[in-house]
Point group: C2
Chain length 353, copies 2
C-alpha cells in the first residue's frame, strides 16, 4: 500500500479548474511533476511506476481537466506539430479546396496549421512567412504564391513554378492540360480560339498560356494575339472575366471559342457573351479551368479542365510531413506533378457552320 505522508499541512489545495499546471497537479497528488509527466505521456520510464499510482494520476488529470500547455511542451521538445499555410485569399474556391486537402492530410498526423492571406500585396508576401516562422511552424505550404523569402525551413508550393532550393512544387501537368483543352476545342471544329490569360500575379499564368500556345500551334491553328485578353483587377471574380470578354467583343475580332484561365472567369465570360446576344455553346464555346464547385451547376454547365485541387493539397501536406519526419536528407523533390482531366459538360459544342 502507498505510504504517502502528508508532507504539507494543507489537506486539499483546491485547484482552480480551467488551467491546472503539471506542478499544481503534482502538488495536489504529493508527487513530482516528473512522475506525472512520465505517466501521462506513457514514457518508457513509467514502467517502474505501480499501476495504482498511475491510476491516481490519470484520475486526477481527468478530474481537473488537465491539458498540457503546448507552448511549454513545444519549447522543450523543439517541435510544434504546426505548419503555416499561405494563400492569396480564402474565398476564391481554389485555395479553399486545396486547404481542404491539406487539412485532411494533416489531421491524421495530429498537426494543426496557421493561415494567412496575402491578397497579392508585396508587403504581406514578405511579412507573413516571418510571422509564421516566429511562431515556430515546422514548415510552410504556399498556395499559388510567389516565394519572397529565404526558405530556412521546408516549403511546399502548390502551383509554384520557380525552382528554389528547399522548395517542392506541386504542379499540374500543364502541357497535358493544354493538350486536353485545345484538343477538345479543335476536335469540335474550332479554329479561332480566344484565350483569356490570367492575371500577372497568378503563378500559373505564364505556363498556362505557353502550353496552350504550343498545343494550338502544333495543330496549325496558332493563337492570335488579337483575340487574347488578360484578366485585370487584383482579385479573382467573375467580373474580371466579364470585362475581359466585353473588351474583346468591342474589338470586333471574330472567334468561335474561348479558353478561359479559370472557371470563375469563364462564368463571367458567359455572362458577357449572352448579354451581347451570343448563345453558349451554340454561337461560342467556353472552356473553363479548375472545376470548382460552381462549374458543374452553372447554366450552362461548364466544360472544364479539372485540376485535382484536393489531392494537390493533400499531396503537398504529405510531402511536407515526410520531409519533416525524415529530416533534411538533401533529396528534396523539386517537383511533384499531377494529371488534369477534361470534364465535358454543356458550355462547349461542335462549331455550327
Amino acid at each position: 500500500m502507498a505510504n504517502r505522508s502528508t508532507k504539507k499541512e494543507d489537506g486539499a489545495p483546491t485547484l482552480k479548474k480551467g488551467s491546472v499546471s503539471l506542478k499544481d497537479l503534482a502538488a495536489h497528488l504529493d508527487l513530482s511533476p516528473t512522475t506525472l509527466s512520465w505517466v501521462l505521456n506513457d514514457a518508457p520510464a513509467a514502467s517502474s511506476i505501480p499501476q495504482e499510482t498511475k491510476d491516481r494520476i490519470h484520475a486526477a488529470a481527468a478530474e481537473f481537466n488537465y491539458r498540457p500547455n503546448y507552448l511549454a511542451r513545444s519549447l522543450r521538445v523543439q517541435k510544434t506539430n504546426t505548419i503555416g499555410v499561405i494563400v492569396p485569399e480564402l474565398s476564391d474556391g481554389y485555395s479553399a479546396m486545396v486547404l481542404n486537402g491539406v487539412e485532411s492530410a494533416l489531421s491524421t498526423a495530429e498537426y494543426l496549421y496557421l493561415t494567412g492571406s496575402h491578397l497579392h500585396k508585396e508587403d504581406l508576401l514578405q511579412e507573413l512567412p516571418q510571422l509564421l516562422i516566429e511562431r515556430q511552424v515546422e514548415g510552410i505550404i504556399a498556395v499559388d504564391t510567389p516565394i519572397r523569402f529565404e526558405p530556412s525551413l521546408p516549403v511546399v508550393n502548390v502551383s509554384g513554378h520557380d525552382k528554389i532550393d528547399g522548395v517542392t512544387n506541386v504542379v499540374l501537368n500543364h502541357q497535358h492540360a493544354a493538350e486536353l483543352g485545345i484538343g477538345h476545342l479543335y476536335n469540335l471544329g474550332h479554329r479561332r480560339i480566344a484565350v483569356i490569360k490570367g492575371q500577372e500575379f497568378s503563378s500559373d499564368t505564364k505556363v498556362r498560356f505557353e502550353t496552350i500556345r504550343a498545343a494550338a500551334a502544333k495543330r496549325g491553328v496558332p493563337i492570335d494575339s488579337k483575340i487574347t485578353v488578360q484578366l485585370q483587377g487584383d482579385s479573382p471574380s467573375p467580373e474580371v472575366g466579364y470585362s475581359a470578354i466585353k473588351s474583346l467583343l468591342a474589338s470586333g475580332e471574330e472567334f468561335t471559342a474561348v479558353f478561359a484561365f479559370n472557371d470563375v472567369s469563364a462564368i463571367g465570360a458567359i455572362r458577357a457573351l449572352t448579354e451581347m446576344g451570343l448563345r453558349v455553346p451554340e454561337d461560342v464555346s467556353v472552356l473553363g479551368f479548375d472545376d470548382v464547385y460552381a462549374a458543374a451547376f452553372h447554366n450552362p454547365a461548364l466544360t472544364t479542365i479539372r485540376q485535382p485541387l484536393f489531392e494537390m493539397g493533400s499531396i503537398a501536406a504529405k510531402s511536407l510531413l515526410e520531409r519533416l519526419a525524415n529530416g533534411a536528407d538533401g533529396n528534396v523533390p523539386k517537383e511533384v506533378s499531377v494529371e488534369p482531366t477534361i470534364i465535358v459538360r454543356q458550355s462547349t459544342a461542335r462549331i455550327s457552320r
Copy 2:
C-alpha cells in the same frame, strides 16, 4: 567609448544563420540577453542604454536575422496573440467569406489564428476545441457550429443560436430576412411558396424556417408542409438542392415559387426545375439565401437574401478581441445582430397568370 573586454577567448563565435537565439546573439555582442531584450522590445528600461549600443544590437539582429521565438515569449508573457477558428468546412463559400472577415479584423491586431474543420462529426466537435485550447489560443470563433464544450475561454459563435454563458452569438436578423423574402415573393403574386429547409446540422435551419413560416402566415398564405422539403446529405452542395426539388416535383404538388435555404441549394433547385422543362423565373421563381460569390453570376442571376458574411466575421473577431483586451468583466454580450438585405436579380418574377 565602449571599453568592452573580450571576456572569452573566442574572437568571433560564428553563429549559424537561420535560428539564432537571444543568448547566442548576446554572447556574440558580449552583452547580456537582458540588454538585448530591452533594446529590441523598446522597453522603458532601455532608456539608459546609449544609442551606440542600441545600434550595435539592432545591426547584429538584422545581420543574423534574429527572430524571437514566439513560443518562449508567449510562455513568459502568458499571451499568444492567437485565436482558434472552428468551421464546418472551408470550401462551402459561406465559411470562407466569414473567415475573410475574421482575418481582416485580426491582422490589424497582429493576431494569427489556427483553424480546424469538423465536417459536422460529433467527435471532432468535441476534440477540436481541446486541441486549440492546448495550444493556448486566447479565444475561439466558431462558425455555424454547435458548441459542445464548456467555454473556459471567450467564444464567439457566428450564426449560433444557443444561449450559453461566455458565448457571444453573431446572428442575422432572421425575422427581417424572412419578411424580406416572403414579402418579395408575396408582392410578386406568389401564394404557393415551396420551402427548402436546411439540414438538421445547420445552426440556422430552425430559426430560418420558423421565421419564414411566421412571415407567410402573417400574410395569410401559410406554408404548406406538403411543399416543404428538407435538404439531405452531410455537406452543402448544389446536389442536395437538386434532389430536394426533384423529390418535390415527383410528389406532383403545385407551387409557383421556391424559397431555398441557401444559394447553393437554390442553384441545385434551378437545375432540377429546368431539367423538368420549367423555366426560371417565368414558370417558377427561385429565391436564394446568403449571396455567395456564385449567386450574382449564375444564370439566371440569383435573387437572394444577402447575409453580410464578411462583416459577420469581422464583427465576431472584433468582439472577441475586445473581450480579450478588456479582460473578463462580466458584461459579455449574448447576441449581436446584423441586418440582411434583399438583392433582386433574375431568378424571381411576377407570377404569370
